[in-house]
């Protein structure tokens, strides 16, 4: 079949150059402007609009996942009694609802217990969005500035540290996970008290950097926040050492950390709204 050619106007290369220049200008403006600049404001505005869309997406796909799980567990023959099958289906639905409520209750108890033991103020939140691109290690939660959430507050899962808030709108906040490549957490090994920085990576693995060569490090050592830097309170569980490597030419040992928090399938989190203890530098009354 003979196909019509796409129209040619001859301005293509010029348009491309203009768009490339515009992109470079946007990039420069982004790095030059402050947190209140137009591009940052645009991002916050889009995030406000995206939060309900993400919630709808999450809500839409949850039954699909549940149905997949339900069908994978069904093995009843079609020759069995029809009325029992209908009753069974109804009961399955009820059991699933009750089981869901029981699991949520358990998770919330665990979360609240964990935070109470640390004596920190917190706000509970639901996860309403997961990373929208493969380059992101962030989640979206359904609490924002109206609930007392501010940028830079630590976020916890029942098992331990999850990340910190990086963008906040009135009713939603974006949380950067500690597994994100842009994340850094001041941490220490519980046994030897050796300090370092926990870094995320593009693959989602955690590494602990800048730990002294002289420190005694063994697989299974517990890693917790050190409280340095003033972002995360001291003593939050991060994970445990899963591998250590120290070559003669290395300045620091290479430490791989297995995170305590499970990033996949997160549903509820706690945001620590109480300010972490700040160091006193003196000089004032």
């Amino acid at each position: 079949m003979k196909l019509p050619d796409t129209e040619k106007s001859g301005g293509g290369p010029l348009l491309l150059v203009a768009l490339v220049v515009a992109s470079l200008i946007i990039t420069t403006v982004y790095f030059r402007e402050g947190e209140n600049g137009p591009l940052h404001a645009l991002r916050r505005g889009v995030q406000s609009l995206a939060a309900p869309v993400a919630t709808v997406g999450q809500w839409t796909f949850t039954p699909a996942r549940a149905v997949v799980g339900l069908f994978s567990g069904l093995g009843v023959s079609r020759s069995t009694l029809a009325e029992l099958r209908a009753q069974n289906t109804e009961l399955r639905g009820r059991v699933a609802e009750l089981e869901e409520a029981r699991l949520e209750n358990e998770r919330l108890h665990k979360l609240v217990g964990f935070v109470e033991s640390l004596e920190l103020e917190s706000v509970g939140a639901r996860v309403i969005g997961r990373p929208a691109t493969a380059w992101e290690g962030t989640i979206l939660i359904d609490r924002g500035s109206a609930d007392g959430i501010r940028v830079g507050q630590p976020v916890l899962a029942p098992e331990g540290l999850l990340g910190q808030t990086i963008e906040v709108t009135a009713h939603a906040a974006k949380v950067r996970l500690i597994s994100d490549q842009r994340s850094g957490v001041a941490a220490m090994l519980q046994s030897s008290r050796a300090e370092g920085i926990i870094r995320g990576s593009i693959s989602g693995d955690l590494g602990m950097e800048y730990v002294s060569r002289d420190a005694t490090i063994t697989v299974g050592d517990v890693v917790q926040t050190s409280g340095m830097g003033g972002v995360y309170p001291k003593g939050l569980l991060v994970g445990e050492v899963s591998a250590v490597e120290l070559n003669d030419n290395d300045l620091y040992p290479r430490i791989v950390v297995r995170p305590s928090a499970r990033f996949a399938g997160l549903e509820e989190v706690l945001v620590l709204t109480g300010a972490p203890p700040q160091p006193e530098f003196g000089g004032g009354e």
Partner: protein, 170 residues
């Protein structure tokens, strides 16, 4: 025929799906890039200029939805959209197989370029780790999605052209 409306509709739906659907159909950490997919198909349908313009808009949306710097997305997607659009004369004549292959190659090019731009800006990751954990898997995922989406989206954008669907091929 005014083609701006279908293009705008396709980009808007792609942006909504990137927020609402893509995170929920992710395989592990690999989230499909629906915006890129639509830009490439737009470029095949409309040519290099439309591909570049659509890539610029989609890239801006991609960056604004994320938490990294704003700017690398439009730079990469406008360039890849332009390149893909340069092949538009051949894409529709060849049915669906060539476009799907080109989507995979263009996705890989876009992901690698994006990673390199981030590295230049000091926001990048070790190349090999990024290649194996994000770039290659995302390109494969986009290629598979293109297999499902391409014939229908291409017909929506250019109804006057003939596109062989997967069902007809079978």
């Amino acid at each position: 025929m005014n083609r701006a409306a279908p293009t705008a509709i396709a980009l808007f739906i792609a942006a909504v799906l990137q927020v609402a659907a893509a995170p929920n159909i992710a395989i592990g950490p690999v989230v499909p890039n629906i915006l890129l997919l639509v830009v490439l198909i737009l470029a095949f349908a409309e040519g290099p200029e439309a591909g570049a313009a659509a890539g610029f808009v989609a890239g801006l949306v991609f960056d604004v939805l994320g938490s990294g710097p704003i700017g690398p997305g439009p730079l990469v997607l406008a360039s890849v959209g332009y390149l893909a659009g340069s092949l538009s004369a051949n894409m529709f004549a060849e049915g669906w197989r060539l476009p799907v292959t080109v989507v995979f190659a263009a996705s890989l090019l876009a992901e690698v370029s994006y990673g390199l731009v981030l590295s230049v800006l000091g926001e990048g990751a070790p190349f090999w780790a990024a290649f194996t954990s994000v770039m290659l898997p995302a390109a494969v995922y986009n290629g598979v999605l293109a297999l499902l989406v391409y014939p229908w989206l291409a017909r929506f954008l250019r109804p006057e052209r003939s596109v062989t669907t997967f069902r007809r091929m079978v």
